[in-house]
Structures are given as C-alpha cells and as structure tokens.
C-alpha cells in the first residue's frame, strides 16, 4: 500500500492564508473581505501587502456577502473570510440571491468548520454547511484535506468563473499531500489502490482514512482511499470506477450525514451502481465543547470509526 508521510502538522486555514498571499501577487483583481476575524482566517499578510484590496467589514456578514457580490461588478474576484457558521447559515439568503442566483464570481472561504473548532462549542461548530452550499444551483463546494491542498485549492478557485464555497478548519493536522500537486476542481484523487472497500473521504477525514487503510491492511483487507476534495461537482467517474471494483463504500466527513458528501455519493451509486454504503459522519446532532480529538472520538469521526464501518460494509456485500 502506498505510504503517505506527515511532513509536519499544520492548520488548513494557514494554507488558505498562504494561498491568498500568493494570489495577492499573481492576481491583481483578487480582493479580500473579512468580518472581524482577520487573524483567525490568516488573512493578515494579504491585508499588509494590499491594504487597498482588503475590506474589513466588521461583524456584519450579510453586508459582507452583498459587498462581495457588488465587487464582482467591475471585474474583481472577491474572497470573503469568516467562520463556516457565519459564512453559510447566517447569510444563506444573501448568498442565494446576490451571489448564486446572480451568478457572481464570489469565493466564500470558511474556516473553523465542523467539530474540530473545539472548545467554543456547538454555536460555532457548523455541521450543515456542505449541505446548505451544495443545494445552491451553480455553487462549487470544496473541502481540502491539509495545508498544501488548501493552499492549492485557494489559488485554483481564483481562476474558476463562478461562486465557490471553500471549507477548511482550525486544528493542526498532518500535512501530507505534495506541495507541488496542482488542484483540479472536481477531480478526485485516488490515494491508495485497493480491492475490498472504497473509502471516500473529504477534509480532515482524509488522513484518518489513510490511517484506517493501514489498520485494515494489517488485517489483510485492501482499501482504496479516495480524496474527494470537491463535493460538488462530484467526481462520479472516479467513484464509480472504484466501487465497481470493490463493491462497497464508506464515506467519511466532518459533517452531518444529512446533506453531506455521503448523501452525494449515495445518490450517485443508487442511480448508477447500487452498492452497500456506510457513513462516517455526525448523526443529525449538534456538537459540544471539548478538544478536537475528544470530539472526533465521541462523535465517531476518526480512523477507528472508519475501520469499524469498513468491516461492517464489507460484511454486507
């Protein structure tokens, strides 16, 4: 099985910040907006380099989305930054009407997604954002897995015409994807080749899926791990090719099973290649305070949970 090396833990939000810094140099039309979370979103460097292209909007997310929509008229490429909760649920109607329905080229960049926000608790731990965003016609939804991939995705979405939801997080997690790997929107990456089960993971769960594959391998089970960094549009070709071979799938995400990656995979399989599926996701619940590791353990979002679901889904074949 192909091995992946953790080159040192880093937070995905810093990948976003680094990508934005590069865009500042390479893309003069990129502008950034932030709702009083510049440090948390790692937007300080862009702000320092390009003060005239940075808009501090205060704690006023609805206005931020409207401003961003307006900034596209005249050719700018706005990147908005705040926590995932305030990037989606709080401003859903603004995104729906002023951005998605109006076809505005706004990049909604959301940090602190999911349970791994940690101690702040459920008010800030959105587990519904992928669902909210993927339901909007024309919206691209991306959840990269580590620092390098988040940086690459940030750079890639600037050249994509249309609204994008880019989801990342707060904790330091293994950084293992190649730093020079180009990010192709909608093109999943098969990380390990396997015969017995497909594990389709997104975001922080991709590393956990690789860890799970190692454990399964020790038990003589070969798992094919797919990094489904783009949830919409879903790479159905990659998914179907793998599941046709393995005959079953586990989906893994830091999100409610309702509305998430798992549902998108289930729809694709039910229409084109029905196969047993198990979900590693939160079970229609809010989160709570705790450390990221404690929360991922309690809510069943780690390598051990993926292994258990893999064994279960294989038994259902």
């Amino acid at each position: 099985m192909k091995e992946y090396i953790d080159t040192g833990k880093k937070d995905t939000r810093s990948g976003f910040g680094a990508g934005l810094t590069e865009l500042g140099k390479s893309h003069p039309d990129v502008v950034a907006l932030c709702a009083d979370l510049t440090g948390s979103l790692k937007m300080d460097e862009f702000k320092a380099n390009h003060p005239e292209r940075f808009f501090q909007v205060g704690i006023a997310e609805a206005n931020m989305i409207g401003l961003a929509a307006g900034l596209t008229i005249g050719g700018k490429i706005p990147f908005t930054g705040t926590f995932a909760n305030f990037s989606t649920g709080r401003v859903y109607d603004q995104i729906r009407q002023s951005v998605a329905y109006s076809h505005k080229n706004v990049k909604i960049c959301a940090s602190h997604a999911g349970l791994t926000l940690g101690e702040d608790g459920a008010t800030h731990q959105i587990l519904e954002d992928i669902g909210l965003m993927k339901m909007l016609p024309g919206m691209t939804v991306i959840n990269p897995c580590d620092y390098n991939q988040t940086k690459a995705a940030t750079i890639a979405i600037a050249d994509h015409q249309g609204p994008v939801y880019l989801r990342f997080g707060r904790p330091s997690v293994p950084n293992f994807t190649p730093s020079d790997e180009p990010f192709v929107i909608g093109k999943a990456i098969t990380l390990t080749s396997g015969e017995d089960v497909t594990i389709v993971a997104t975001g922080h769960l991709v590393w956990e899926a690789l860890e799970a594959a190692k454990t399964l391998s020790a038990q003589g089970i070969s798992a094919e791990v797919i990094n489904m960094h783009t949830i919409k549009p879903l790479d159905s070709e990659c998914l179907l090719k793998s599941v046709t071979k393995t005959g079953c799938v586990v989906t893994a995400e830091e999100h409610n099973y309702l509305g998430g990656l798992g549902e998108s995979v289930a729809r694709e399989l039910s229409q084109n290649h029905p196969a047993p599926q198990e979900f590693v996701a939160t079970e229609d619940t809010f989160g709570e305070s705790g450390t990221p590791a404690q929360l991922m353990e309690k809510y069943g979002l780690n390598a051990a949970a993926i292994v258990a679901k893999a064994l279960k889904v294989i038994s259902r074949k």
Binding site: G58, A60, N63, I65, G70, I73, G74, Q94, Q97, S102
Partner: protein
Amino acid sequence: MPNINALEDLVIQVRRDILRQVHKVNSGHPGGSLGCAEFFVALFQQVMQRNDGFDMNGHGEDLFFLSNGHISPVFYSVLARSGYFPIEELSTFRLLNSRLQGHPTTHEGLPGVRVASGSLGQGISVATGAALVKKLNQDPHLVYTLCGDGELQEGQNWEAIMYAASNQVDNLIVTVDYNGQQIDGSLDDVLSLGNLRAKFEAFGWLVIEIQDGNDLNSVISGLKSAKEHTGKGKPICVLMHTVMGNGVDFMMHTHAWHGKAPNDDQLTLALAQNPETLGDY
C-alpha cells in the same frame, strides 16, 4: 437630451406599461411601481451617464441597482424604453420562459439588470460593493440604488449604511422611496422608522429630501443636487417622498394596491386617466 414635456409623456406611458403588465398576468406590484415612475424616468433619461448597450461590468458609466425588486414593472418599462431590450418584450412579464421574471434577475440575461433582487434589504450592500470597485478602478462614475422605505426594516441595510459612511463611500447615492406604506399597512402601524433623516445623518450620511417625488422637475433637481454632493467624503441618501399608486386616483394614498393587479374595469378606468402618449407595446 429630451425636453421636459417629452419626459412627462414618457412618465404617462410608463404608468400605462406598469398597469398593462400587471393586469395581463393578474399579479405583480403596481402601487410602488407607479409611485416611482418619475424617479426612473429622471434617473435613466436625465441623471445617469449611461453607455450604449449593456456590459455587466459597467466600466466608464453610472450604475443602478434596484433593491426593492418587486417594483419590477416600472424598472422593466423604463429599461425597455431606454433601449436596453425591445419594448414588445414587456408583454412577456411574469410569463413562463420570459426574461422579465416577477422580480428582476440576471439569471435570464436581461440587459440592464446587474443583480437579482426581491428578497429585501440586499441592494445597498451590493451597490456599495460596486461603488468600491469604481474607486479601485479609478472610474469617476457613480452608483445609484433605490430601496423601499419598508425595506429599511431589514437589518442588513443598516450594516451597509454603517459601512458606507465609515469607509467614505462618497460615490454612492441611495434613494429611499418614502411612501410610508407597506403590505400590512402604513409603516407607522407596522414598524415605524422613526426619524429616518436623523437616522441616516447619525450614521454619517448626507441627506437630501425631495418633497414631491412625483413631480418630475423636483426629482430631476433633487437627484442633480445629490450628484453635486458626491465626492465629499459622505455617501448620499435621497429621501424621496412619493405617493404609492400615483397617477391612478383610486390606487393612491393606500397600501391596497401594493401587490394587487387591477381587473378589466379597473384597468380601463386607470388607463383613461393616463392617455396613451408614446404608444403602447
């Protein structure tokens, strides 16, 4: 530049367009549309600097955003009669497969529309963003938006109003259609705006009032005065006092025609008060 008589004729024709659009599909919002006929004619025919044709980015021209999208009949009529799309297309208002959706949208590619509106309270934010681009691009042109008075009950407006003043967005002119009516009744009965002028001034805006927003000359001079005050560090608010349903006696001074179309007899009566000038579509 058309003379004032020609513009008065256009206002009457726009009223006919509004009435005929909503009557045909028995839906839509004639009240607020009629109240803003003079404003749209003044803005598009006398005040804004517009390029020929339509380019979404609007480089080198003034821009307009309609925030209270439900008054689409007046917007569509004036867009068509200002050359953005064929006047005959007004006959497709709210019909299946039409570019003239119930509320304006960019989705169907209708020239003249730069953002969807209808869900209220979003226009000032979008217009402010577009005004920021003008500054970034060193384009000296202005950004105009119209919002309803009832619409100001939406909180997002006040986020935008705070932002625009705080950041000296002084190439932005927000006009408020101050007719005092909303769907459930008068503003004062539903949710009073209190002293609206004082509110805008307290937020740091320069406020200009047009006492008779249904007098074409007053609207033109009010908007021109607003224009003269741009570029001085403050966004401009024009409080434009209008009468909902203006130009049709039985529709005036009431909220009853906010979102109701006239029946056949009522249409005949209403059109008789506004005889054809430039020709119906």
